[in-house]
Amino acid sequence: MLTHPLPLISLLLAGLGIFLAYAMYGAKWLSAEAVGRVFKPLHTLFYRKYWFDELYERVIVVRVLVDGIFAALSIFDSRVVDGAVNGVARGTNEASGVMRRAQTGQLQVYGIAIAIGVIAIAVCFYLFG
């Protein structure tokens, strides 16, 4: 004994579908084109497979992946990842541009720097050591 009518209904619907297919394509009692014209929107929906091919091809593959996420990653790759590498190079270059100004060649300036250094070390020794 069946406990629920639902399986019966689906079985009945499937049977009807098979009968309808036989009527249209096997025995040709009904014209498939005519039925298609009557249920135009439904016919188009089924005929285009719910537009799943278009969904995959145009939306998921092209829009979301290739032109979306992958494009963003590609920009990330050249701007951020490679940009960081080139940034380190530029930073080194610019820092050396600044630091070279300290090399004036004037012995007096170097002398002062050495004197300040010696005093600083002496103070440190006096305070901490």
């Binding site: 992946l65 992958f70 590609s74 990842v81 960081a84 590498v85 190079a89």
Partner: protein, 495 residues
């Protein structure tokens, strides 16, 4: 004393370049033939070594064809060569690519003498990396390789060649500096430079923590492999290098990174490798997917192939740090397989550019009519790259995935393996899309009269195809050898 096979393999390209350098006003043909003869001799000797190599159980963990001479006694450095199951496939790969790189360069017109000298020096230095068993010797060859590659890219390259060449050298040198610090700290800790004796380094008071040494070495290798986010030198260098240099760069040079990871990082520091493996397999999955995603966006044919290497080397990283016997075997096989497949892909890109003078995918199309041989071989290379069964790409990737998925020592490796498998789908996407855009569609008028491959080129590309098929149909030819090298590492890792 036995015949010093490895020294001979190393020295033949060097003798070749000396002969070329000493030729007074040579004909172009003489230079090329000399280079070819010496490259072939080196390849023939490496095949001999491959045939004589002991694959039996007794050979597990044994170094074969060992040569050891005292070199710098003060620091205990030796001229120490030898091969095992890990390095032998890489040696064969390099000598094979060395021959084909000479053939690929057959049409070089600009300063051919210098060109072939640099090419042979490049071959010798890479072979040195794979044969060395002494850390100082290893480092010497590792650094030596930069010089010929710098000149090959900056003189014979195209595009922004000076930028790419200097970027390659500085980027690699940063890695080398860390590696040197790693090597020094290993030496200060253990007092030895012998790569075999150092296996499973275990000392109570290391110079710096073992994990610090591990990462110093790893970063040097990760730049070479390359691993995201240290990969951006690769597309520039590969794209702007001349064809033969691209073939060797992608084919053999990247493998120095993978080989170094296994030989030095995993073998010397198995405990640290085990500890950080979850992080590194995650990075591998990122490399695979990120590399493939960025590849799909490339408009330049050569740059596209270059980026695909980032993705494919991710599989190597995955296999290495999944730390199972099968996954490591797969990783080494993948290194070999990627070497011949990408070598062929770059050779094909070079041929297409040579004939059609165009590399931009938007301007290419319909070339299948004009170059039937090239389209067939390019398709075979592409299908091998996406892992079609029967090609070496399938064997290598399949073994890597099976080994990684079934690894029991690394947490979360299953998830990252599954993520990595999706890389194959993306690979199929960019390879097939690329073939479609270059070769199919209506024939374009501007490409009328574009010639197909000539006989020298056919010999070269058919040799690649034969190697891809041989390894694809009978991977045991290599896995028998690799097994002998991988087993002792598994004993160290303890899985």
């Amino acid at each position: 004393m036995n015949f010093p096979y490895l020294s001979a393999i190393l020295l033949l390209p060097i003798i070749g370049l000396i002969v070329i350098a000493l030729l007074p006003k040579p004909e172009q043909r003489t230079i090329k033939l000399t280079a070819l003869v010496f490259a072939l001799a080196s390849f023939a000797l490496s095949v001999a070594v491959f045939c004589l190599f002991d694959r039996s159980g007794a050979a597990i963990g044994q170094i074969q064809f060992e040569e050891k001479l005292s070199w710098i006694p003060a620091i205990n450095a030796f001229y120490h060569l030898g091969v095992d199951g890990l390095s032998l496939p890489m040696v064969i790969l390099m000598t094979f690519l060395g021959v084909l790189a000479v053939l690929v360069s057959w049409n070089i017109q600009l300063r051919p003498k210098e060109y072939f000298i640099w090419l042979l020096l490049l071959e010798a230095s890479i072979l040195g990396v794979f044969c060395s068993l002494d850390l100082v010797l290893f480092f010497l060859f590792w650094e030596l390789e930069l010089i010929p590659m710098y000149f090959l890219i900056s003189v014979w390259g195209g595009g922004r060649r000076e930028y790419s060449a200097i970027k390659y050298v500085i980027y690699t040198l940063v890695g080398s500096a860390m590696m040197l610090a790693g090597i020094l700290s290993i030496y200060f800790t253990a007092g030895s430079l012998n790569m075999i004796e150092l296996a499973g380094l275990d000392v109570a008071r290391p110079f710096i923590p073992l994990s610090a040494m591990f990462f110093l070495m790893l970063i040097g290798f990760a730049i070479k492999l390359p691993v995201f986010p240290l990969h951006t030198w690769l597309p520039d260098a590969h794209t702007d290098a001349p064809t033969a240099a691209s073939v060797i760069l992608a084919g053999a040079l990247l493998k120095m990174g993978g080989y170094g990871m296994i030989r030095l990082c995993v073998t010397i520091f198995p405990g640290v490798a085990l500890q950080f493996a979850p992080l590194l397999v995650a990075l591998a999955a990122v490399s695979v997917l990120y590399g493939a995603a960025v590849t799909l966006r490339q408009k330049d044919l050569k740059r596209l192939i270059a980026y695909s290497s980032v993705s494919h080397m991710g599989y190597v990283l995955l296999g290495v740090f999944a730390l199972s016997q099968v996954s490591l075997t797969g990783a080494v096989l993948q290194m070999f397989s990627h070497g011949i497949i990408t070598g062929l892909l770059f050779a094909m890109v070079g041929l297409v550019y040579d004939k059609a003078h165009e590399r931009n995918l938007d301007n290419l199309g319909g070339l299948a009519r004009q170059m039937p041989v090239i389209v067939v071989v390019f398709s075979i290379a592409g299908l091998a790259s996406l892992g079609l069964p029967g090609t070496s790409g399938f064997a290598a990737e399949f073994i890597t995935f099976v080994g990684s998925y079934s690894s029991t020592v690394v947490d979360g490796v299953r998830l990252y393996t599954i993520l990595g498998v999706f890389g194959i789908v993306l690979t199929a996407g960019y390879i097939l899309w690329m073939l479609q855009r270059v070769f199919y569609g209506p024939p374009l008028e501007k490409f009328n009269g574009v010639p197909d491959a000539n006989n020298v080129e056919k010999v070269c590309i058919f040799s690649f195809v034969a190697a891809i098929m041989l390894v694809g149909l009978y991977p045991a030819i290599l896995t028998d050898v690799i097994k002998v090298g991988v087993e002792p590492i598994m004993r160290l890792v303890g899985s």
